[in-house]
C-alpha cells in the first residue's frame, strides 16, 4: 500500500469492490454480473447498489434461485467471448456449484489441451458472527483452494479488495473471490483515486515485526493486527503477513518472514481441520524449519457447525485475545 495511503480517500470494503467492478465494466463491454437480486436491490448486502442504474439490466442481471444454473451459464459464456461475474450470495451455497466450478470451469482449459479458456469470476462471501446460523456463516475457501485450475482471492482491506478484484476480472482463468460479510460494514480504508491492479499471488506484509509472524487471511487480518497492538504492551513485536490469495500462493514472503521472526501462528476463519491453516503451516515448516523456535501453530474456526446463539458463535472464531494469549505464551512474555 502506498506511503500516502493515509492521505487518500477512505472507502468501505464493499464500496471498493463496487468501484472495481464498475471501472472494469466501463472498460470492457464483455463483462456482465449475474446473481440473485443483484440489480435494483444491489445484492442482499446492498453493496452493488447503483450498478444497474449505470450499466442496465442487460449487464447487471437478476437470476432465479439457481446457483448451479447461472454459474454454468457463466462458464459457457466465459468460453465464448465474455467475462462473466457470478454472484453467490452466501459462500455456503458453494455446495451447489461445485460441479460447475470444479469438474467444469477448473478443468476445461487443461482437458482441452489449452484450447478453451474460462475467464470467469465467482464472487462468494464468507465469515461468521452475524447470527445467521450454520448454513449462512461458513468460510469454505479451502475447497476451491484444493482444486488445480482455480485461483482463490481472500482480500482483507478495501485497497486489496479493489486491486485484486480487478486482477481477477482480467485473469483468463476461473477465479473465486471470497468477501468477508462483516467487512462490508466494518472495514474502511484508504483507496487512491488513480487506477491500480494488484497481481494475484503476491502476499503483503501488513505490519512489520521481529518476534513472531502472524500469517492471517481475510477477516483474520484485522484480528491479527489488533492482537499485534495488544502485544506491544508486553514487549512482543509481531509481524502480520497477508497472503491475499490462497492460490497462487506466495510461499517466499511467508517463509522469509518466519525465517526472520522464528515463530508463527497461522490464522484463518475457515474450519480448522483440513483447511487453509493446515496447508500454510505445512508450507511454512517445510521452508523455515531450521529457523523455527517451535512448531507453527494454527488458529481457525472451531471444528463445529457454526451455532446461532451469540455467546456460542462468539467462541467459534479466533479473537484478538486468542491470538494475543497464544503469541504471548510462544514468546514467553
Amino acid at each position: 500500500m502506498p506511503e500516502t495511503a493515509t492521505q487518500v480517500r477512505q472507502l468501505g470494503f464493499g464500496e471498493a469492490i463496487r468501484e472495481a467492478i464498475a471501472e472494469e465494466m466501463r472498460r470492457d463491454p464483455s463483462i456482465v454480473l449475474m446473481g440473485e437480486d443483484v440489480a435494483e436491490a444491489g445484492t442482499t448486502f446492498k453493496q452493488l447498489k447503483g450498478l444497474v442504474e449505470e450499466f442496465g439490466k442487460d449487464r447487471i442481471i437478476d437470476t432465479p434461485i439457481s446457483e448451479a444454473g447461472f454459474t454454468g451459464i457463466g462458464v459457457g459464456a466465459a468460453m465464448t467471448g465474455m467475462r462473466p461475474i457470478v454472484d453467490i450470495m452466501f459462500g455456503d451455497f458453494l455446495t451447489l456449484i461445485m460441479d460447475q466450478l470444479v469438474n467444469q470451469a477448473a478443468k476445461i482449459h487443461y482437458m482441452s489441451g489449452g484450447k478453451w479458456k474460462v475467464p470467469l469470476v465467482v464472487r462468494a462471501t464468507m465469515g461468521a458472527l452475524r447470527r445467521s446460523g450454520s448454513q449462512h456463516s461458513q468460510s469454505l475457501h479451502a475447497w476451491p483452494s484444493h482444486i488445480p485450475g482455480l485461483k482463490v482471492v481472500v482480500p482483507s482491506t478495501p485497497y486489496d479488495a479493489k486491486g485484486l478484484f480487478k486482477a481477477a476480472i482480467r485473469d483468463d482463468n476461473p477465479v473465486v473471490v471470497f468477501e468477508d460479510k462483516i467487512s462490508y460494514t466494518k472495514v474502511k480504508g484508504p483507496v487512491p483515486e488513480e487506477e491500480y491492479i494488484i497481481p494475484l499471488g503476491v502476499a503483503d506484509v501488513k505490519r512489520e515485526g521481529s518476534d513472531i509472524t502472524f500469517v492471517a487471511t481475510s477477516s483474520m487480518v484485522q484480528v491479527a493486527l489488533g492482537a499485534a497492538t495488544m502485544l506491544e504492551e508486553v514487549g512482543v513485536s509481531a509481524e502480520v503477513v497477508d497472503p491475499r490469495t490462497t492460490w497462487p500462493l506466495d510461499e517466499k514472503t511467508l517463509v522469509d518472514s518466519v525465517k526472520k521472526t522464528s515463530r508463527c501462528i497461522v490464522i484463518d476463519e475457515g474450519y480448522y481441520r483440513y483447511g487453509v491453516t493446515g496447508e500454510l503451516a505445512a508450507v511454512i515448516q517445510e521452508g523455515a524449519f531450521y529457523d523455527l523456535d517451535g512448531p507453527v501453530r494454527r488458529l481457525g474456526a472451531k471444528h463445529v457447525p457454526i451455532p446461532f446463539s451469540p455467546p456460542l458463535e462468539d467462541v467459534t472464531v479466533p479473537t484478538e485475545r486468542d491470538v494475543f494469549e497464544l503469541a504471548r505464551q510462544m514468546c514467553n512474555k
Binding site: E36, D37, E40, A41, T44, D62, T63, P64, I65, S66, A68, G69, D92, F93, L96, R130, R131, S132, G133, S134, Q135, H136, K302, H303, V304, P305, P307, F308, S309, P310, P311, L312, D314, V315, T316
Partner: protein, 333 residues
C-alpha cells in the same frame, strides 16, 4: 391456474376443528407480531422472516396431518412449526438463542426442529429440505408406518434443480410426500414471473404427479385440498404438489421495510391483499355469518392467546443463554 375453493360442508371440518384453525392462525399472527417487536427492539439476533399473511397455508395443511406425520420447513418457518404443534415458549427461546430453545439455541429462527411434533427442521437453504421430506416419505413406505411427509417451500425453490430430482423420485416410487409450494409471488425482491418460465403447475404435472392450485388465503379450501391429497398419499397412491397462492405482508425479512419494498412491489398491491383477502379476517367473517360461533367466543380465544404469547416472550427473554462450553456438544451423536 384455476383456484379451487371448497366451503365447509357436511364432509368438511366440524366446529371444534374450525375453531382450532382460527386459534392456530391467530396464534401465528400474534407470535410473529412479537417477533417483529423483539427484532426491532434489537432483542433478537440474526434475521427474522415473518409469516404474517400466510397463516392459512400452514394451518390448513397441518390440520390435515397427524402428529406423527412429518413436515420440513423454510427460512420463513415459524408458522409451519407452530401449526404442527410447537410450543411458543420454546420457540421464542430458540429465536433468542437461549438454552431452553428447541435446539438449545444452536439452530435459531431458521432451524427450528422438533421430533415430538414430527418437525424434521426448518432449513435456510432454499429447497434444502426437499430431499429430507422425500426421504422421510421413503422411510414411511419402507417401514410401513403410514406417515405422510409435507415439504413446505416458497415458489423461489422452483429454481433449484434438486426439487425436480426429488419429484421424479417421489413419483417413480410412489412416496407419501406432499410438496407444498407457497407462492407469495416474490423471491426476496424479485417477482416470480421474472424467475419462473411457463406454468408452475405444469412442472410437477410433467412427472405425472397430482397437482392443484389452492387459494392460500382460504383456510377451509387449503384444509380440504390438503386432506384429500394427504389421505391419498396415506393410501399409497403417491405424492402430490399443492400450489398455495398467498402473500407476505411484511418485507422479505424484518429489515426489508416499506421504503425498500417500494422497489419491487406496489403499496396498492399490499393494501389489496391485506384488506380484501386477509385469511384471518375472511375466516372470522365466515364463522360469524355461518353462526358457527360468536364474537365473544372469538375474543376469549384472542385474550387467551395474547396472554400466552406475552408469557412466552417473557419466558424467553428471561431464559439463560447456553454456557459457552456447550459449543462443542451435539456435533456427533
Amino acid at each position: 391456474m384455476t383456484t379451487t375453493t371448497k366451503s365447509a360442508t357436511a364432509s368438511g371440518p366440524g366446529v371444534d376443528k374450525l375453531l382450532r384453525m382460527y386459534r392456530q392462525m391467530l396464534a401465528i399472527r400474534l407470535f410473529e407480531e412479537r417477533v417483529n417487536d423483539l427484532y426491532t427492539r434489537a432483542l433478537m439476533p440474526g434475521l427474522a422472516h415473518l409469516y404474517i399473511g400466510e397463516e392459512a397455508v400452514a394451518v390448513g395443511i397441518c390440520e390435515a396431518l397427524r402428529t406423527d406425520d412429518y413436515i420440513t420447513s423454510t427460512h420463513r418457518g415459524h408458522g409451519h412449526c407452530l401449526a404442527k404443534g410447537a410450543d411458543p415458549r420454546v420457540m421464542f427461546a430458540e429465536l433468542l438463542g437461549k438454552e431452553a430453545g428447541y435446539c438449545k439455541g444452536k439452530g435459531g429462527s431458521m432451524h427450528i426442529a422438533d421430533p415430538s411434533t414430527g418437525n424434521l427442521g426448518a432449513n435456510a437453504i432454499v429447497a434444502g429440505s426437499a430431499g429430507i421430506a422425500t426421504g422421510a416419505a421413503f422411510a414411511s413406505k419402507y417401514l410401513k408406518n403410514n406417515r405422510v411427509a409435507v415439504c413446505f417451500f416458497g415458489e423461489g425453490a422452483l429454481g433449484q434443480g434438486v426439487l425436480y430430482e426429488e419429484m421424479n423420485l417421489a413419483q417413480l416410487w410412489k412416496l407419501p410426500v406432499i410438496y407444498a409450494c407457497e407462492n407469495n409471488m416474490y423471491n426476496e425482491y424479485t417477482h416470480y414471473s421474472e424467475s419462473t418460465a411457463g406454468d408452475l403447475l405444469a412442472r410437477p404435472a410433467a412427472f405425472g404427479m397430482a397437482a392443484e392450485a389452492v387459494d392460500g388465503q382460504d383456510v377451509k379450501a387449503v384444509f380440504n385440498t390438503a386432506q384429500k391429497y394427504v389421505e391419498r398419499a396415506r393410501r399409497g397412491e403417491g405424492p402430490a404438489f399443492l400450489l398455495l397462492n398467498t402473500y407476505r405482508y411484511h418485507g422479505h425479512h424484518v429489515g426489508d421495510v416499506a421504503t425498500l419494498r417500494a422497489i419491487y412491489r406496489p403499496k396498492s398491491e399490499e393494501e389489496e391483499w391485506m384488506t380484501t383477502r386477509d385469511p384471518i379476517k375472511r375466516f372470522v367473517d365466515w364463522l360469524l355469518s355461518e353462526k358457527i360461533t360468536d364474537k365473544a367466543a372469538l375474543e376469549d380465544i384472542e385474550k387467551e392467546l395474547t396472554a400466552e404469547m406475552n408469557g412466552a416472550v417473557e419466558f424467553a427473554v428471561n431464559a439463560a443463554f447456553p454456557a459457552t462450553d456447550k459449543v462443542d456438544h451435539d456435533i456427533y451423536a
